[in-house]
Symmetry: C2
Subunit: 202 residues, 2 copies
């Protein structure tokens, strides 16, 4: 065999072996259920990833609810785009970040009002996907009762998917989750003086 | 002051300080340009995050191009949803993963045909956002000429945003990027026997 033929030959053997392993893993993974996903870490792409799932779910004709707990701006591309769908209920429930409001008891009241909206969705099986965007902060800052939130999440409808985003997810939330991803910042344009960009950051 | 008043008081002081720091950082970040973003790592949420940006961009009336280099399935929620938009050109350009095809020279030919489509978009400033989904594999497997790809990316239209996703991004690509995020798997439902879920995974 020539060098290139050899390369092709061994490539095929390795890939056959890999396919057998992957097929076996797929065969083992045969159950379906509503998932609790937590997307945390300090990197860019947590909320964005949740919004990608909103697009996927709407593409399959599923019903989606979105609660944005911190954000107060309503000029985002995501809301303009997804919020326009009948199948998608979009709620902007925040007053901005804690360093914008500088008002702890006000933040707590806002959080509790927001949680009312979320709780409704989390007890309504007609929602196939519920996104709780930036909920993690309300737990790490003790703005919401941890047990209340964790209990509500653990009692959600069986086939409902829930995605929670935000930095510093508390360990009890990660323990409860089926899938946890951490997004790490390796490099960020913002740090080189480039401002938040339309279509990319909002 | 009571304990609670004290807590409120110091919260306000800390948040004032934090706001001053953040405002200064925002003031420093004042330039605009088309970004090259790389979303890599072994966790769930890389392509999903890119699709979230597609939603954002479409929400702002921007024009979007998507090239999916590996995927061959055309029943995904993302394509059904975003691909239906006039403003969004969606191309499924793959034959499946290397372990599905088991054919190195076939994979190279497929990759080169896909790159033709991507190159067109990367030289056309009417595209505000171009997503090169799973391009990283074509570089790490040497299916495309590295210099050709890196040169094309470095010569893209100035205001065009490009998002590259996939595991194992090569270091030259990360060096060229403005923003690099790594998504790490902390926990994955799939590993506990739950299969890929509609709306979440595809």
């Amino acid at each position: 065999m020539s060098g290139e033929q050899k390369r092709e030959h061994y490539h095929k053997i390795r890939m056959e072996r890999k396919k057998a392993q992957i097929d076996a893993a797929i065969a083992r993974a045969d159950s379906e259920k509503g998932l609790l996903l937590v997307i945390t870490g300090n990197g860019k792409g947590k909320s964005t990833s949740a919004f990608g799932m909103v697009g996927r779910a709407l593409g399959h004709g599923m019903k989606v609810g979105v609660c944005q707990f911190i954000k107060s701006r309503t000029d985002t591309g995501e809301e303009a785009f997804f919020g326009a769908y009948d199948n998608c209920d979009w709620h902007v429930l925040g007053d901005g970040f804690t360093w914008d409001t500088q008002d702890r008891s006000g933040d707590i009241a806002t959080s509790e009002r927001g949680w009312e909206v979320a709780s409704q969705m989390l007890s309504d099986p007609s929602y196939d996907l519920v996104v709780l965007d930036e909920l993690t902060y309300l737990l790490s800052y003790d703005y919401l009762d941890k047990d209340l939130v964790l209990n509500t999440l653990s009692e959600k409808p069986e086939m409902q998917h829930v995605v929670v985003t935000g930095r510093n997810a508390i360990s009890e939330l990660k323990d409860l989750a089926d899938t946890v991803s951490e997004v790490q910042d390796v490099k960020h344009a913002y740090k080189s003086g480039i401002k938040a960009q339309k279509g990319i950051d909002y």
